[in-house]
């Protein structure tokens, strides 16, 4: 096979449409078969490359890296193809003439794939957004049943270990005569009020850096000093207790139902742990919890009863009054105290502004 024949075969078989164009007249001098399929050159009509390509002028083509480029749409039977046209000037023909070399490639498939990739990228993005939203929602739900630090531990390790906290302060609250209220009042309205009250308590608890552990029926339990230890856990919980009582008092002025709470506060040792596998919840146990529960039961309506340890810790900041030596089940005889009035002693320390409300 001679070289010329080989070249001809090559030109006929490659997947690129080729045309050679006179640099001055822009007349087409040569086309390979593929080029002719996409851009038929009329026998007797104009043979200018711009007419054949269906562009008004070669000047319309975009110049990039010394060659002209454009995407041209052609319709072959029912198909609309996108052809990338690339025109370069070739200087080295044998007779010294310059010609323009027109290379055309069918990029329809690439365009279709580009479109598809874009569409999938959007789909993925959308799914990811949805997932993120779901995750945030799940996280928020979980943070309702466990402290953030415990949630982080669970997330990182898949398990949590029970932790012993030597000194935390626990608050227990419940309502006097709630069981009777449930039968005498409209249950929907009652639950809705209880929901309001506990929501307000949650806000107060958060304000003082305490943790709401759980509610059980009309009972509410909060703690200060875990999972992150703090030195003024007793003060924090006492402030929360005082605000709980104030909130109930204020509410009773306007509410049809009169609520009377009992509050017990104790400082002691507790264990904090996740309980359950499928339905899990963070809970605390131990003497601190039990004593708070006992004191709450011993409390008079609308009183805050505190144990001796708590009383000792808060005596400088709050007005604590000793009630009497009392036999507390499981704890023997204990000195018990009550937080006499909301706050009697002026709070001299640099307390945050929100505590100003207490200094009335």
């Amino acid at each position: 096979m001679d070289m010329q024949h080989f070249n001809q075969m090559l030109l006929a078989s490659i997947g690129v449409g080729l045309a050679v164009v006179d640099v001055i007249s822009h007349e087409i001098l040569f086309t390979n078969p593929l080029f002719a399929t996409w851009f038929p050159v009329p026998e007797n009509g104009p043979r200018k490359i711009s007419c054949v390509l269906g562009i008004t002028d070669l000047n319309d083509l975009v110049e990039r890296d010394g060659c002209f480029q454009s995407d041209v749409q052609v319709k072959i039977k029912r198909r609309t193809l996108t052809i990338a046209v690339n025109i370069t000037q070739s200087k080295n023909t044998s007779d010294g003439h310059s010609v323009l070399l027109v290379e055309c490639s069918n990029i329809s498939k690439i365009k279709e794939l580009e479109y598809m990739i874009e569409s999938y990228a959007k789909l993925v993005e959308k799914n990811e957004r949805q997932l993120r939203r779901e995750k945030e929602r799940a996280e928020k739900m979980l943070l309702n049943v466990m402290p953030k630090a415990i949630y982080e531990e669970l997330k990182s390790y898949g398990v949590t270990t029970p932790v012993l906290y030597n000194e935390v302060s626990v608050l227990m609250l419940d309502f006097v005569g709630f069981t009777e209220m449930t039968v005498s009042s409209d249950p929907t309205a009652l639950v809705s009020e209880l929901n309001d009250i506990f929501t307000a308590f949650d806000r107060i608890v958060e304000q003082f850096g305490c943790e709401r552990i759980k509610t059980m029926g009309d009972a509410y339990m909060a703690v200060s000093g875990l999972p992150d230890p703090t030195t003024n856990h007793a003060q924090n919980i006492a402030r929360a207790a005082i605000l709980f009582r104030r909130y109930i008092r204020q509410r009773n002025k306007f509410s049809k139902v009169s609520w009377n709470c009992r509050i017990g506060v104790a400082t002691g040792t507790v264990i904090g742990s996740m309980i359950g596998v499928q339905k899990y919840v963070y809970d605390i146990f131990g003497p601190g919890v039990n004593l708070a529960a006992r004191l709450e039961a011993l409390s008079e309506p609308m009183e805050i009863t505190v144990c001796e340890t708590t009383a000792g810790l808060i005596a400088d900041d709050f007005n604590v009054e000793m009630v009497q030596d009392t036999d507390v089940k499981g704890f023997g005889t204990q000195k018990i105290f009550k937080l006499a009035r909301d706050v009697d002693k002026p709070i001299s320390h640099d307390l945050p502004g929100y505590l100003a409300a207490l200094s009335v």
Partner: protein, 118 residues
């Protein structure tokens, strides 16, 4: 259980099947004219997702959507069958097993009431 979508290599392969399928569709004298001078890009994209969904891949199309997009096209039973045949050819060309081809075609057949409108 692996889905057909996973078995045959996911979107990459399905995209190739869909390309062959549309090549056949455009060459077909029975139904090619439906596709004349349409922008094929969105069609190919939708069809890839549709076939993927039939094969248990990620994407879903409700019958309502299918009904809406085919409404007013006056697609006959013969047109529907012609398209199904071409899809079958394309699936075979990409080495999808007979049993799996049948299951895909059954899925499509079950949607024929919302696609055929004349």
């Amino acid at each position: 259980m692996t889905t057909l979508f996973e078995k045959y290599g996911g979107f990459a392969v399905i995209s190739r099947i869909v390309h062959s399928y549309y090549d056949k569709v455009l060459d077909s004298d029975q139904i090619g004219d439906y596709f004349e001078s349409l922008d094929m890009k969105p069609l190919i994209e939708h069809q890839t997702k549709f076939i993927a969904s039939l094969m248990g891949g990620p994407a879903s199309f409700s019958n309502d959507m299918l009904k809406r997009v085919h409404a007013g096209l006056n697609i006959s039973r013969a047109d529907f069958d012609a398209v199904a045949d071409l899809l079958q050819e394309a699936l075979f060309e990409h080495n999808v097993e007979q049993e799996d081809v049948n299951s895909i075609l059954r899925e499509i057949e079950s949607r024929s009431p919302v696609i055929i409108s004349s």
